[in-house]
């Protein structure tokens, strides 16, 4: 596992991927930086507008039996450090493997 110092050199997207992949054993993990779509809005004034908003799609067996609120909270808890250091918003799609194959 990379040291904390080396970790900070990675982009936020990569840090998010690493944290979620290892904790959630995700079978599908897509991380998309959409900060540019929100760079103009009120709460973003005065910031660089970079690495602030992400779309996440996660398919993990660990979501089985969890309500949507619980699933999202799991993700937020794993990314607590990022949320304290400039990550502003996440759009989360959190499914189990059974739910995606049922579609």
């Amino acid at each position: 596992m990379a040291s904390r110092g080396a970790n900070m050199m990675l982009s936020r997207a990569n840090r998010i991927k690493t944290k979620l992949q290892s904790a959630l054993e995700a079978t599908v993990l897509e991380v998309e930086d959409v900060s540019y779509q929100h760079a103009g809005h009120a709460a973003m004034k005065g910031t660089s507008g970079q690495e602030t908003h992400f779309n996440l799609k996660i398919v993990s067996p660990k979501f089985d039996g969890q309500s949507l609120v619980k699933r999202h909270r799991m993700v937020y808890d794993l990314l607590a450090d990022e949320l304290q250091s400039g990550l502003h918003a996440l759009s989360i799609v959190a499914k189990t493997p059974q739910e995606t194959s049922a579609k």
Binding site: A42, T47, V69, H72, R73, S85, G86, L90, S91, V93
Partner: protein, 174 residues
């Protein structure tokens, strides 16, 4: 709220934070003004707090400080139980200031249910306190019948599946 209380609140905030908190402006709604009377009686910090250089809006220097005082918690309890549908959002119902908040407002309007909105951009302390209160780090935050329902993604998914309509009907009839 008298002027004296407001002045005390500003002084107290300046002592506690030299960085991101602005002095509270007059809140637009009566509900919001009811949420801030606890400010003058905020307990003293139990540990030393070193003033930081002014950070960007995105970095909150509040790791070692809880914004959720017992008084604020009980006021929030009252707010979410005295209204069936409560939305803590960025901006107002008439003028949302964030796409996610705007989406939830539009969804709620489409059901023609009465709902109360609180603008968290008006008050940084409230904004931080709500994140602790709801154990949810982002806004909007929707409460139905006194219970946290979710943010924008969950609301949209429930709207598309029909679950939100059922829940709203149940909430309004109870």
């Amino acid at each position: 709220m008298s002027c004296a209380c407001g002045v005390k609140a500003i002084r107290l905030q300046v002592q506690l934070h030299t960085c991101s908190l602005r002095p509270p402006r007059a809140p637009p709604s009566q509900m919001l003004s009811a949420l801030t009377p606890s400010l003058p009686s905020m307990p003293k910090l139990l540990f030393p707090y070193k003033p930081q250089p002014r950070p960007t809006l995105a970095t909150a220097p509040l790791r070692c400080f809880s914004a959720l005082t017992p008084e604020l918690k009980s006021t929030l309890d009252k707010v979410i139980t005295s209204n069936k549908v409560v939305l803590f959002m960025k901006g107002t119902k008439e003028l949302p200031q964030c796409g996610f908040s705007s989406t939830v407002v539009q969804i709620l309007k489409s059901f023609n249910v009465p709902f109360e909105t609180i603008n968290v951009l008006e008050n940084d302390l409230l904004r931080q306190a709500l994140k602790e209160y709801s154990s949810w780090p982002t806004f909007p935050q929707l409460y139905l019948d006194g219970e946290f329902f979710g943010g924008c993604d969950i609301t949209v998914e429930a709207y598309q599946s029909g679950e939100l309509q059922e829940l709203l009907e149940k909430t309004m009839c109870s």
